[in-house]
Structure formats: C-alpha cells, structure tokens
C-alpha cells in the first residue's frame, strides 16, 4: 500500500465513523426523553456530521478533487459498501435510548483521544480541524457525563444503562481498530500513534465511569466487559473492510432520496 493510500484510508475511517455516528444521532430528533435533551442531542449529531464533511474534504484534497459539497456527498454516500471504513459500533442500530446514550459516551470518550492523536498532525488542515473538533467534543463528553452522573445514581436507570453497556461492549474494540495502511499515516506524521493504543485508556475510562456495576474482565463467552487487559482486540471487522449486517439497511435509508433521481441536485 502506498503512503498516500494509507493516509487516505486513515482519514476515511475517521470520516466514516463521524458520518455514521452523526447519522445515528439524527434518528433521535423529536423523540429524546425530554425536550431539552432533544436540543442537545441534535446539536451533537450536527457536530459529528460537520466533522465528517471536513474530513471527507481532506480525502478529496488527497485525491486531487475539488472539495465541493457535491464531491463530499459523492464520497459520503456513493461508495460501494466494501469501500467504507466505519467501525461496527457506529453501524449498530440501537435498541433504545439507554444504548444510544452509552454509545454516545463511549464514542465521544474515544474521540477525545483520537483527536488528541492528530492535534499536532503534519497535515496542517487536519491540525486546524482538530482545534475546532476538540472544543465540540469536550462539550459532547460533558453532556453525556452530566446525564450519566444522575442516571447511574438511580437504581432502575442504572440497571438499564448497565444492560446497554453489556449489549454494545463487544463493539468497543472495533472502534479502536486501525485500517491496513495506518503505519503510513504514522510514518508521515499525520497521526501521532496507532489507533489500537487508544483501546486501553478507553477501557479504563469505561471501567471508571460505570464502576462498580460493571466488573473487570470478560464474561463466560469471552466477550469484552471492561477490562483493559483481557486481550480483546480481535474483531470481525477485518481491518474495517467488512461491514456489519446493520450497514445495508442504514445506507439504503440514507440513499433513498439520492437514488430516487441520481441526476438531481437537491
């Protein structure tokens, strides 16, 4: 793999995660548990979609394509499934608001670490996007923490949140999985280190956040629970080249209007 395509894949994984995470958040507009939360969660979704658009522009620049909105949309919506580099956690269709909240917390905790890795990127545009993104991510994390502080203190809510964590925990290692060419991105100084290195601090943060109701270690089936040491870095994502079963229905929904008339500009 050439350096350029390695860097491209690194950026694409980042962008696709942001895109699909933002997309998933849009499903909650109007149906969050209370009106104030509707407004906050919608803003977070808008932020993630905005990050995706900026990162797709970087990919287009690498490709030598002018980063117009139309070109961004071509990249965001028109690739074949195998060319996406999203992780399964952001493809996952949640079973309710508890899972959406826990995923939001995990994703944004990870994002703080991920953006930090590129804050001194050799790609000047990426470094400048990072400054903006980190301000937004800090708020996302604060929002999720403020809710969890209160919800985890109430027994019924705590058990729902813990169940939600157990349900999605096996998708967490995939979030920290790198694409095949990441070494090129590191060598070129685009990012400071391997994405896989973020797994341990993320797992520690999860453990701390949800303690004591979530134990340390793995469950009977060997699934990741919270431990940072259980060696659960294997996934079925094949370095982010394999899509989950949730992906096609999600993408069909996202493309419905675009497919109605491929020649149209909306």
């Amino acid at each position: 793999m050439s350096d350029r395509s390695g860097i491209r894949e690194f950026l694409l994984a980042f962008a696709d995660d942001e895109h699909l995470m933002g997309q998933q958040h849009t499903e909650w507009i109007g149906v969050a548990p209370f009106l104030e939360e509707d407004l906050a969660f919608s803003s977070i979704g808008q932020d993630e979609l905005g990050h995706a658009a900026l990162l797709y522009e970087l990919v287009l620049e690498l490709d030598g394509i002018e980063p117009t909105d139309a070109a961004v949309d071509q990249l965001a919506f028109r690739r074949s499934s195998r060319d996406y580099r999203s992780c399964h956690l952001v493809e996952y269709t949640t079973g309710g608001w508890a899972e959406a909240l826990v995923r939001h917390w995990i994703y944004d905790t990870f994002e703080e670490l991920r953006w930090e890795q590129v804050s001194d990127s050799a790609m000047p545009r990426l470094a400048s996007i990072t400054r903006r993104a980190r301000r937004e991510e800090a708020f996302h994390r604060r929002h999720a923490d403020a809710l969890l502080d209160k919800l985890l203190a109430a027994p019924e809510a705590r058990s729902r949140i813990t169940d939600a964590l157990q349900t999605i925990a096996h998708l967490v290692p995939g979030l920290c999985e790198a694409t095949a060419g990441e070494a090129s991105a590191i060598a070129a100084g685009v990012t400071a280190g391997p994405t896989a290195k973020l797994f341990e601090p993320l797992a520690r943060a999860i453990e701390e956040r949800f303690s004591p109701s979530v134990g340390v270690g793995t469950d009977e089936t060997g699934r990741f629970v919270t431990s940072a040491t259980a060696g659960l870095t294997t996934t079925d994502q094949d370095q982010r080249t394999r899509r989950s079963d949730w992906f096609e229905p999600l993408m069909a929904r996202m493309r419905e209007v675009l497919d109605y008339d491929p020649a149209a500009v909306w």
Partner: protein, 91 residues
C-alpha cells in the same frame, strides 16, 4: 426536576438578559442543556443559569414611582431659561 432561569450576554455588550427557562435535574445539566437550548447560534458568549426558587422577587409597588421626584431628573429647563435670558438681555 427544577426550573432554571437562563441569562445570556454578549461580550462587551449590554447587560445579562433573561432569555427563558428550562427544567433540569442538576446544576450541571442545567448549564449543559441551556447551551444548546438558548445559545446554539452564539446569541451570547456568557451564560448564567439560576434556579428559579433562588430568585428573590420584589412585591408589586416595592419600586417607588419617581414622577414626583423632579430633583432626580434635572431636565436642564431652568439652565436653558437662564441662558436664554442672559443672551436676550441688553448689554
């Protein structure tokens, strides 16, 4: 849930202004939710939230009418009259 009153101001401009209210379970949630509820278009860059039951309210009539206190409202009429008289007076 408690009701919080939300106040916003723009840097270097005007005073804090009351912009509305919201319900929140904690002070931290009130701040977090006020950010996206009231200043998501940067309607201000400073934000206060105050629990409604902490607001001390003056009764109606507590603020005295001031129309009968002309000594606080020099309108300059007397000065203007003297100046006019001085200008018009023969040398």
């Amino acid at each position: 849930m408690d009701v919080y009153e939300v106040f916003v101001k723009k840097d270097g401009r005007d005073e804090f202004r009351h912009v509305g209210a919201l319900e929140a379970a904690t002070d931290e949630l009130a701040l977090v939710l006020a950010r996206e509820g009231y200043v998501r278009r940067a309607e201000g860059d400073r934000l206060w939230v105050v629990r409604r039951d902490h607001v001390i309210v003056a009764d109606d009539g507590f603020v005295a009418p001031n129309a009968d206190k002309p000594h606080r409202h020099h309108d300059g009429a007397a000065v203007a009259a003297r100046r006019r008289a001085a200008r018009e007076a023969p040398e």
